[in-house]
Symmetry: C2
Subunit: 387 residues, 2 copies
Amino acid sequence: MAGTFVIAQGGGPTAVINQTLAGATLEIRKRHPGARVLGSLHGVRGIRDGNYVDLTDLPEEQLRLIAGTPGSALGSTRDKPDAAYCELILSGLKKVDAEAFIYIGGNDTAGTQQILSSAAGGSIAMVHAPKTIDNDLVENDHTPGFISAAEFVAGAFFSVDLDFRALPGIYVGIVMGRHAGFLTAASAAWQQDEASGPHLIYVPERAFDIPRFIDDVRATCDRHGRCVVAVSEGVSTADGKALVESLVPPERLERDQHGNVKLSGSDLTAALERALAEHLPGKRARVDAFGFLLRGYVGAISQTDAREAFEAGAFAVEVAGQGGGSVALQHDGSTVLKNVPLTAVAGKTRHMPDDFLHPQENRLSEAGHAYLKRLVPPKFKVGRPFV
Amino acid sequence: MAGTFVIAQGGGPTAVINQTLAGATLEIRKRHPGARVLGSLHGVRGIRDGNYVDLTDLPEEQLRLIAGTPGSALGSTRDKPDAAYCELILSGLKKVDAEAFIYIGGNDTAGTQQILSSAAGGSIAMVHAPKTIDNDLVENDHTPGFISAAEFVAGAFFSVDLDFRALPGIYVGIVMGRHAGFLTAASAAWQQDEASGPHLIYVPERAFDIPRFIDDVRATCDRHGRCVVAVSEGVSTADGKALVESLVPPERLERDQHGNVKLSGSDLTAALERALAEHLPGKRARVDAFGFLLRGYVGAISQTDAREAFEAGAFAVEVAGQGGGSVALQHDGSTVLKNVPLTAVAGKTRHMPDDFLHPQENRLSEAGHAYLKRLVPPKFKVGRPFV
């Protein structure tokens, strides 16, 4: 291949998605001298509109600096292309003589690549490089972006638990995660022992109901004198709908082009505040939604995550040479990169394995703790408080 | 002095308050071999109830580990002692033959020390060692705990701005700070240039009103295609009351023993969400309250802050030898420690100097930026995104 490689970034930014961009760009330059590397601005929009930045000759030093910078340096998009939009993308790719298109993103991004791949009929290699803090891609042991976000969440809960040891009360932290509880579970990665928080963990994989939540909190307060709780923003009721959907009047429900309901408003926060005030009156209680803080915090970039994200980008170039596919991070003693079919990943959601959760109680099992210990080992040496 | 030193921690925990505890303990052990060092559990409550941990012989290694751990290792309290409570504290101090009592905390804590000092009539040296993320102690250039919290806030806004560069919209981050805007202003510490966020900063020192806020946001979006905003939870309306007071029905307003209204609920978040949805419909807008994440995050402990907090503890022992007073961090080329009268600090609030703010616009002035640059210099080398 000595033609043009197009690279784009889709969906929510992460702390390390620029590592994947840099990894792919440098690998193309190494393997295919003479090839042109175009970065499409704001995902597939840039291809549709002819908006590119030329990365062919960007100094490596500059590219390495960008690699270490959170956010999506090319800009991103939530556009979900329909058939007509896909035609525009394909004709855009042809216009720049693209031989391969590497799209870095989550399962929606993989979905776009699958459609494009069918439409292109093999004339252009379509590659999906994984990225998501949600860790919800099938075929993957974990995904680039997850470990850094998990480290933020682990450190946040570790720190808040110390705060609430000093001034006891109830603390609820709401963590991003629409369908998969991995990131919320990461709250327990640096848990010291059973008496330390988070004492309770609620993930989308288990039905959530307020009375059970209140009972759990009350029992924890009785036992430990405080209660630190991690709740996924995507927790759902027994009917499988997001709890937020039952809290927000239909006319205020905001959806993206993928039909996903906006979960990041203050409705869940307010509902949990009200429930705690009503059912556990007089108890000091605070509910914080972590919101966007966790997904690209410059102070919590995991070096493992950064390295793997870079390598996933480089491997995407290998996958392009194989005609396309999806880069998957699998675990076999250490992380191994595989090329899996786009159809295996596109639009599918990986949930937390059921055995990561305690069968009855709202906390992790041994298996859940072991998974986190492998990916997010403790980073700070700390002492034991006297209270 | 070879009698007993009592140490306690009051008010909100910080990332480095245990450094002050360790600094004081080690200095006492060095200067006064044979003296006993008692840590009172949960502030003055421990003295009242006779609840202590004996630090006299705690291995230094263990103490150094605790020093590096966020939170208040002795536990804390928000108790505001009245005359009768103060009598109980004094008799508690006498019961353990205290020669000095070092109380680490903010201006409320200094207030307690002032009352105790008057009541003790010189028989026990009362020392206040400073601690507050709010940076609102008079006589101080800055306070232990502030720099670390400021670093968290600086990194958070720097990172979120990159996120919103990639997926444009309006982002509002609500930052702790009841009366002083220093911590909210710290959002701009790592701002790259005028086009980077935070584009707007609202602090308690300036009256806040929704129409002006909306106009500011609209103008910023027109200019930069996105808008990142930092708002103090303590922003007040023109009548000088906290905005939250006008948003929450009186029967739901929660106050601590110092009469301070609880600001950390979701009411301000919801009010700003509603205002943005109503006046700038169709624009992607997210409002996050940082809540408790910023005050003791293990991943954002500044080494300067840690060192100064330790030294403030050690200097508190010197102040005890001088009969008592308040430790102040002043600036004279570098940080210098001074003993100032308790009356000068107790119950007083230091506001951001007026010239730290632009006279008309809701952003910092050159002087404001210079202050932050001195205390919270950039910590990460980053690249420039393409969008």
